[in-house]
Point group: C2
């Protein structure tokens, strides 16, 4: 039996998984992400944790195919990161450093792309080779799989679906500096913003009034039959569905996987997105399937592990 490691580096914790090369997740654990001093301890901490695990499990170096690493930043093909928003790193040769620390083969990629790859390997996109994954969390992340491989692009910035422009009329600014990005409407915070705007427009009664507004509250109210919540979800669905139709005409996926905290709303979310997708999709893309992500927080370590295989 051969092994590989999948590592998903986040701003507060690093998730690590030990896999067989056949795709069985044997064990997973977390360590703290120490971002102080430009995050200089992060990779050594990971290396140490992997070596401890190998010792504990009596796994020899020759039995490990390698280490895949997901990073919350654009990652160049050669495993170089130019800048990260929340790890403290500036320019960093991630794969080279990790190779030196462990003596094992290393590959690195963007964390959203790794999550997509993970869902393709072991989750909702199993058996598919052309896939779009959208992660609806605090922000909107994306990963695109083309012919079985993550679309990294020339700067490692491929598949930045959250910053796909969906509204040229928007006046509020997105975190990226542009206006009208998908993230401003389809993330958890985006849905709350749509809800607040809708509630301010008139006085129509809704259980959403008076309580704290969240994406979850909106979908809960929708499930209770609230008409105002339905309007908000229709608007969310039209932004996301139309954006996915436009992205599909470019990447021609067989399946679109929707994950992230917001997707916990369940199948009802897909309904509203699919309706608007079909309204705008090119005829060749009309048979694209929509599915909910299956791996949750494990998608990142799964995809990272797959990257090294």
């Amino acid at each position: 039996m051969k092994y590989c490691f999948g590592v998903d580096i986040g701003g507060t914790t690093v998730k690590i998984g030990l896999f067989t090369t056949e795709g069985e997740l044997l064990e997973k654990w977390e360590i703290k992400t120490r971002t102080e001093n430009h995050g200089e301890a992060i990779l050594p901490d990971v290396a140490e944790s992997l070596q401890n695990k190998m010792q504990e499990k009596n796994i020899r170096k020759s039995e490990v195919d390698g280490i895949g690493i997901g990073i919350p930043a654009p990652v160049m093909e050669d495993g170089v990161v130019q800048k990260t928003a929340n790890l403290g790193w500036g320019y960093k040769e991630v794969t080279r450093e990790m190779k030196e620390l462990t003596g094992l083969p290393v590959a690195a990629g963007n964390d959203a792309n790794m999550a997509a790859l993970g869902e393709m390997w072991l989750g909702a996109g199993k058996g598919q080779k052309n896939m779009i994954m959208v992660t609806l969390g605090t922000g909107v992340g994306g990963g695109i799989i083309v012919n079985g491989k993550p679309l990294a692009g020339s700067h490692g910035a491929g598949g930045e679906i959250g910053h796909f422009c969906v509204n040229e009329e928007e006046t509020e600014t997105c975190g990226c500096g542009n206006t009208g990005c998908l993230e401003q409407y389809a993330s958890a915070t985006g849905i709350s913003r749509l809800a607040r705007r809708r509630l301010e427009r008139d006085d129509s009664p809704s259980p959403l009034r008076g309580s704290e507004i969240s994406a979850k509250a909106v979908f809960d109210a929708l499930k209770e039959g609230d008409a105002v919540a339905k309007e908000i979800v229709e608007e969310f669905g039209s932004y996301l569905g139309h954006a996915l139709a436009a992205i599909a005409v470019i990447t021609d996926p067989s399946v679109i996987v929707i994950g992230g905290g917001v997707s916990k709303a369940g199948e009802i979310l897909l309904e509203y997105v699919e309706k608007y997708f079909h309204e705008k999709a090119f005829f060749a893309n009309q048979d694209t399937r929509f599915v909910l992500a299956q791996l949750g927080n494990d998608a990142g370590i799964c995809g990272a592990a797959k990257l090294i295989l």
Copy 2:
């Protein structure tokens, strides 16, 4: 020296090129596309023409790496076409049939993707691995290169840039059945349509009045300093530039190549597209370069030849 053939099948003629595997175009010629009887003669005609050329040049089968074929339709990865708009073909196993006819290795792809691959191999995208190519002709064609390979997608319908939605308010219908496709604004006919709409709006004087309106006439008037033509080209530039910014956030190209008849307007066209691209592009894509296509009508045979290598 080893050889390969690039074949570009169009609705009226088939273009064929004989290449060295190093990328020298040794000879090119055309044969008629016989579309009658469901286009049953097309592939046998091509095979005969290739065999005649090999005989003429004293080229043995063992010296030919293979045949690449570009087809004006979606092409699946296994070289199967489901339907063509103007060759008469229904379901057709193109690579299998051509292999049987010639005894040589065969690969097939969509013609717009082949043109993009050709520009990457021998033209404006030389040395690049991530590229968008847009062909502005009667329609708008597109080809996307990801990590050196054409993005074919799950139905062979990847990179259909002409049917990327750029205007949700449009009421006129595109040839594909949708409304607001890029092709309705950025093709030669699209630019004429923008021009007619602009001229009808008021009486401002312009050399475009009274003469036949064409994309060429609009760009010629722009070069003469006509203010109305400038407004039309600004509108064209904003549709195409914003669309390319949105596509770039998905595919992260290092270079965008613009070709087709409309691109004969020259560098001035790039100026107007780039301006609007930068207005909307994600920060990571701001250094994407714009260049005019270099291979003209040869792009298709070049890319087809490259596909087999």
